[in-house]
């Protein structure tokens, strides 16, 4: 059995009804316990941020991240080991959204 570690997973999402259960469902399906969960406005207008604390294996975390990003309304997802600073990606996401939106025009 692969070694379990503490992880913090963050996801930046559109503000859609029902997304909380979509995100939670990805964990449930892989029988991963959520140790703590916080959802709040990210600081980027219209974009919400999920922070999930969990204890699991690296393989499962990787699967969670890829499947989070596969959801239509999820913009980006990131993973940190235990006590890393999980706010540093805010600017990256903001830049990424600007890049994506430039493609639309």
């Amino acid at each position: 059995m692969e070694k379990e570690k503490h992880y913090i997973i963050t996801a930046y999402t559109e503000n859609q009804v029902g997304l909380l259960s979509t995100v939670a469902g990805l964990f449930t399906r892989r029988s991963i316990n959520i140790d703590a969960l916080r959802v709040f406005p990210s600081g980027i207008p219209g974009v919400h941020k999920f922070v999930v604390k969990t204890t699991t294996s690296e393989v499962k975390v990787r699967s969670i991240i890829l499947n989070l990003e596969k959801k239509v309304d999820v913009i980006k997802a990131f993973c940190y080991v235990d006590n890393e600073d999980f706010n540093k990606e805010l600017k990256d996401v903001s830049d990424y959204i600007k890049e994506r939106e430039a493609l639309c025009k």
Partner: protein, 570 residues
């Protein structure tokens, strides 16, 4: 000047037409009645196929989508109407089939009150849809519907469910339609990393024994020509997943057959001998890989898929490329070296000879008193000139239909792969015939699956669809029976079927049915079946205890192949 106000129902139908929809598979009911009322005014523009059960609607939409490469459309009511489509939605999710389901819902003011025929459809469909959305406002309809078709049909295709409240259907708003072709949080077509293409070309050129494994991604991206060109340029053999069948013509010299549990010996053995596996538009299902930690141990693996979450999911990859298959393959073909690998390409002679003598001839050239199902499939392939769209249900009929059908044209094989949904066959055949009225459309189905969606014979009757239903009838749930014989000490628990008189059933629906019990009657009956474009049931009484081989038993490496109940491939 202020634009004319429309009801939500009319906005829905106008948006469907703007998206290019011409056919709806559906079933009315209380919470969707305003839409059906408006449909009365659109009956010359939108064809509505009334099914007999909502499961029939979703499978028909899947058959339509897989034939046409355009999303199938389903309209049903709330509650049981919506829950009845769930099996097909899950099937479409795992088989990446583009379908859009529009389900009625109680008025938004009643949500959460256990109102009559209210269910939490969004909650139920969350894990089995690419996107699901509840339309509560008339103003949102055009936006949500256009977005639904964009999401269903692009990227890795999949099902979308729209839960459409009754007040949004009857409310009024201006019709403001704008075709959706961009969503900032969703990448519909990945940009290919050219350096990874270069790396793939380098690995391919250095390989002595490369083997290509491909899946439905080839059909969905329209990469059939690019795939054939790659195989030709590099003298590379290839094996197909179940859903990838018909992407290469059956007589293509590079095509080594289907992969996996009931695949060809050559494709399984060669994938184990290869020094490089190039996987394109497929997901290494356990039915393809066999025991995972023994699969392609000596090979480097390049995996090309449009879905990043598939890369490395089951099989560790040396190089993963997130790309549309056509895009990636055309770049690789342009850069790769032309190589002579004839010796490797044709190294499967022993495999093929063993399979021919031990499996194919006994199955398709039967000499016993009863007819083998493989004889029926092979006869259909001969008579229809390899030009029909072949569908299967699930089980032995499916594996034999896949093994012995022959294809010249792409998008000619439709089956429920990942979910393995018995009862898929009859309604999916309806959808395929609606999508391709000029083609021959033929289903192989067992007596079990036939009775799971037997009610759709009513739809065939009402629409007078020229579908050809070949009932491989052995009065058993054959595939489970086979496993019971091989792996459960011949304890035949709940697999024996006492069947109805299918002649009377066919008569009741006004469908011609011919019974075949003797070998000499088979070919004339198949010729009779394809002589016109009318509904037809060919009821063939087949060998009861017939088993599908070759077989890689579950949990074994794909090179451990049973030729029959006693012999193994050496």
């Amino acid at each position: 000047m202020k634009q004319e106000q429309m009801t939500g129902s009319q906005i829905l139908l106008e948006t469907l037409m703007a998206e290019g929809v011409d056919t709806i598979f559906g079933y009315p009911g209380g919470s969707i009645m305003p839409v059906y009322d408006k449909l009365y005014d659109y009956k010359d523009k939108l064809r509505h196929i009334l099914v007999r059960h909502e499961q029939g609607a979703i499978h028909a939409a899947q058959g339509y989508a897989r034939t046409k490469g355009f999303p199938g459309t389903v309209i049903v009511t709330s509650g049981p109407g919506a829950t009845n489509v769930l099996t097909g939605v899950a099937d479409a999710m795992v088989d990446s089939t583009p379908v859009v389901v529009i389900a009625g819902q109680v008025s938004s003011t009643l949500l959460g009150t256990d109102a009559f025929q209210e269910t939490d459809l969004i909650g139920m469909t969350n894990p089995i849809t690419k996107w699901s959305y509840q339309i509560r406002k008339t103003e949102d309809i055009a936006w949500a519907v256009s977005r639904a078709y964009f999401i269903a049909s692009t990227g890795r295709p999949g099902p979308v469910v729209l839960d459409f409240t009754k007040d949004a259907q009857v409310g009024k708003a201006e019709f403001k339609y704008e075709k959706c072709n961009f969503i900032r949080s969703y990448i519909s077509k990945p940009v290919v990393d050219e350096s990874k293409i270069d790396e793939a070309v380098k690995m391919l050129d250095a390989s002595v024994r490369p083997f290509v494994v491909y899946g439905q991604g080839i059909l969905q991206s329209g990469a059939e020509k690019e795939l054939a060109a790659l195989l030709e340029k590099g003298d590379i053999p290839a094996g197909s997943t179940l859903l990838g069948l018909s992407a290469l013509a059956s007589d293509n010299p590079h095509f080594k057959g289907m992969l996996g549990m009931h695949g060809s010996i050559a494709s399984n053995v060669m994938s184990q001998q290869a020094d490089l596996i190039l996987a394109v538009g497929m997901r290494f299902d356990d039915r393809v890989t066999g025991k995972l930690d023994t699969y392609c141990k000596d090979a480097k693996v390049i995996h090309i898929d449009i879905d990043p979450s598939e890369l490395g999911k089951n099989v560790p990859v040396d190089l993963g490329i997130v790309a549309d298959a056509k895009d990636a393959l055309s770049r690789i073909v342009a850069k790769m070296a032309r190589k002579d690998r004839k010796a490797w390409l044709n190294s499967d002679k022993h495999c093929n000879e063993v399979e021919l003598q031990k499996v194919i001839i006994p199955e398709t050239k039967g000499t016993a008193d009863t007819i083998n199902p493989g004889e029926v499939v092979a006869t259909v392939a001969e008579v229809c000139g390899q030009d029909a769209i072949i569908l299967t249900d699930v089980g032995q009929n499916q594996m034999l239909g896949a093994r012995y059908s022959r294809f010249k044209r792409s998008r000619s094989f439709i089956s429920s792969g990942g979910l393995g949904t018995m009862g898929f066959g009859i309604p999916a055949t309806i959808g395929a015939k609606v999508a391709a009225p000029d083609r021959k459309v033929c289903l192989f189905v067992g007596d079990g699956g036939f009775q799971m969606t037997i009610q759709e014979l009513g739809t065939i009757m009402q629409e007078q669809l020229g579908v050809k239903l070949v009932l491989l009838n052995n009065n058993w749930l054959g595939n489970v029976r086979q496993w019971q014989e091989l792996f459960f000490k011949e304890r035949y628990s709940a697999t024996r079927m006492i069947n109805p008189d299918f002649e009377k059933i066919a008569q009741a629906y006004g469908i011609e049915r011919v019974l075949v019990e003797k070998r000499e009657d088979l070919r004339p009956a198949v010729e009779r079946m394809f002589a016109d474009d009318k509904p037809f049931i060919l009821d063939v009484h087949i060998t009861e205890a017939n088993m599908v081989f070759p077989m890689v038993p579950p949990g074994k490496p794909v090179s451990d192949i049973m030729l029959n109940a006693k012999e193994w491939y050496k």
